[in-house]
Point group: C2
Chain length 334, copies 2
C-alpha cells in the first residue's frame, strides 16, 4: 500500500482545529506533499492547514493525485455531505484515502465509482494484506521505537521529529507508521492495532525490514505496556521492532490512563524497566536513549523544572520535542 | 457461538494419532458429548478415539447434532474427500464444526448446503463476533490462568484438569477456551490469537464475565511472554483474564522456543516474575499458586527428581498433571 502524492487535504465540515488534526499533522510533517485543502460549508475557520482552498477541479489541475480525508468526526462515520465531493474526486482522476473506523470501500457510491474508473480507496485503518508470523530473526540497520507511559502522549510526534533531525544531519532515516494518522503522513505503513493478534510482531517485522547498516527506522509507537486495553499491541510492537534505541514518552499532567479512570499512570522508572525487559527479548542490545515529555499543559517555568528533575532522576536526556527539538536525542543515538 | 452436542468426531484420513489429537482431546475431556467417530478409507488404525465407528446416518440415528472435524492435516486444508461426507452430514440434519485454518464457510458446497438447509458451520479459529475494547474493570468470581515458558507446553491440559478436579470437589468451575481445540472441547469460546489486536483483552473480558464469588473460571492460556512471535496475544490475555491465580507451565526437555531456533527457553524464576508483573496490572492480588510440568519425555525417576528440584527452587507446589493429577494445585487455590 502506497498512497500517491501530492494530496488535497479534505477538511469536510470540521467543527474545530482538533477535528482537523490529521490534516494539520500531514501539512506539518509533509508540506511538500500537500497542494491544497478543501473545506465544505460549515467548516470552522479554526480548521485550517494554512494551504490554499481548492475545489476538486483546481486541485486536480494543480497535480493532486489523492484526496486525503483529514478530518475526524464522531464515530468515524463518512458523512453524506462528503460522499458527493469524494465521488467527484474519483471521477476527476484522484484516489481517496482515509483513516476512519468506517470504510470508504463500504460506501456503495464510492466503491462502485472507484471500481468503474480503476481508482484506489485507501482505508488505512484496515489492513488488507496478510502478514507472516514473526520469526524474530535479527535484521540489519538500526531502529528506534518510542514507547509510552500511556496512549496519546507524543510517540508519533517524537518519531517524526527524530526522522526530520536525522535527515537534516544527513543520516538515512525513515518514519515507519503504525497508526492511521502516521500512515496518511508517511503515505504507507500498517495499523498494527487492526491486524489479527497472531501477526502483530510479524507486521512490524514487515514494516521495518533489513536496511543498510547506518540507516535508522523511526517506528511509530502504540499504546503502553501499562494500558489494560491495548498492552498486547504494544508488546507485539516492541518485539517486532527489535529496537536498538528506545525513547520513553510521557505527558506529566495526566491523572489516569486514557479511558481507564481506575488505572493510575505508571512510575517512569518502572515503565523504563518493563519496556527494556520486553525489548531485550528480540534485541539484547536495546537501551533507552532519552525521555520525551509533552509539556504543553505546563508553563515554561514548570516545564523547565519538570524536565530538569526528570533528567536528573532517570539519568537520561529529557526533552520536550516541541519546545526544544530532538537534537539531544539524536546526539545520544549517533 | 455455542456448538450443539452430542458430537460425531470426524477423523478423516488421519495418518497417525497426532493428526487426530483434536478428536482424541474432545473424547478425553468431554466423553459425554461424543456418540461415535467416522473414519474414511486410509485412516490409520492409530487414529482412534475408542468410540464406535459410525456412518453419518448411524450417528444421526444415535442423536448426533454436530460433526466435529477432529483431524489436522497439512496446511489446515479441507480435503476434497471430506466434502462429500460433511455435505451428507448437513443434509442429514447436523451442523459442522472445525478449527482449521481454511474455513468450512469458504467451501462452496458446504456453504450453499448449510445456507439452503439452515445448518450452522462453525469455523472456531475465526471469530465472527465483534468485541469491545477492554475496560479493565474488576469482575466478580475467581479466575485462574495457566501461563507458559513457551507455546504448547501443557496450558490447555492444566486448565481442563483443574476444571475436572474443582468440579469433583463440588466447586463451581468452567473451562474457558481461547484456542480451537479448547473451543471444540468446551463447545464455545474465542480464538484470541485470531481477534483483531485491539480487542485481545476485551475478548477475554467477554469470555470470563462476572460470576458468583465462589466460581472459578479456568482460562486457557496461549503462547508465552517470551515467545517473539506471539507475546502480544499472551500479554493481552493476561490483562483480560484478571487472574487471581496463575500456574506456570513448562516442558523441561525443549531446547529452544517453539519455531524459533535462535531463542532459548526462559529461566523459570524470571518467567514467574514477568508474568506476575503483567498480571498485577489488572489484578493486584494475582499470585502464582503452582508449577505444572509436562514430564512426558522424562523417565519416572528423572521426572520425580525434576519435580522435586523445581518445587524446592521455586517454592511452589510442582506437579505433572498427567502423572500426578492437579489435586495439589486445587489445594493451593482453595
Amino acid at each position: 500500500m502506497s498512497i500517491k502524492d501530492p494530496y488535497l487535504l479534505f477538511l469536510g465540515d470540521a467543527h474545530d482545529a482538533l477535528a482537523a488534526k490529521v490534516a494539520i499533522g500531514i501539512k506539518q510533517w509533509r508540506p511538500e506533499k500537500c497542494v491544497g485543502q478543501l473545506r465544505l460549508p460549515g467548516c470552522s475557520p479554526e480548521a485550517d492547514c494554512g494551504l490554499p482552498d481548492m475545489t476538486i477541479a483546481e486541485a486536480r489541475a494543480a497535480g493532486a493525485q489523492t484526496v486525503v480525508v483529514g478530518v475526524a468526526n464522531r464515530g468515524g462515520v463518512i458523512a453524506q455531505s462528503w460522499i458527493q465531493v469524494l465521488t467527484e474526486a474519483l471521477e476527476s482522476g484522484m484516489d481517496v484515502a482515509a483513516g476512519l473506523h468506517n470504510k470508504l470501500a463500504d460506501v456503495p457510491a464510492l466503491r462502485d465509482t472507484a471500481a468503474r474508473l480503476g481508482r484506489k480507496l485507501f482505508d488505512v485503518r484496515h489492513p488488507t494484506q496478510t502478514f507472516h508470523v514473526a520469526n524474530g530473526k535479527k535484521r540489519t540497520g538500526k531502529r528506534l521505537l518510542p514507547v509510552g507511559t500511556d496512549c496519546s502522549c507524543g510517540k508519533m510526534y517524537t518519531a517524526l521529529a527524530l526522522e526530520k533531525e536525522l535527515q537534516a544531519r544527513g543520516v538515512p532515516a525513515d518514519f515507519r507508521a503504525t497508526g492511521q494518522t502516521g500512515i496518511l503522513i508517511a503515505g504507507s505503513g500498517v495499523s498494527v492495532d487492526a491486524v489479527v493478534a497472531d501477526f502483530i510482531s510479524g507486521a512490524v517485522e514487515w514494516l521495518a525490514p533489513d536496511n543498510s547498516p547506518d540507516h535508522w527506522d523511526l517506528i511509530e509507537g502504540q499504546g503502553s505496556l501499562y494500558h489494560a486495553s491495548y498492552a498486547g499491541v504494544t508488546m507485539g510492537l516492541i518485539h517486532g521492532a527489535q529496537a536498538d534505541a528506545l525513547v520513553l514518552c510521557h505527558e506529566p499532567t495526566r491523572k489516569h490512563m486514557r479511558g481507564l479512570p481506575e488505572y493510575p499512570i505508571p512510575d517512569l522508572a518502572e515503565c523504563l524497566d518493563a519496556n527494556l525487559r520486553a525489548a531485550k527479548l528480540t534485541n539484547p542490545d536495546a537501551r533507552f536513549v532519552a525521555v520525551s515529555i509533552n509539556t504543553s499543559r505546563l508553563s515554561q517555568a514548570d516545564a523547565d523544572a519538570y524536565l530538569a528533575e526528570t533528567e536528573k532522576r532517570l539519568g537520561l536526556p529529557t526533552v520536550d520535542p516541541v519546545r526544544q527539538g530532538v537534537a539531544r536525542i539524536v546526539d545520544a543515538i549517533l
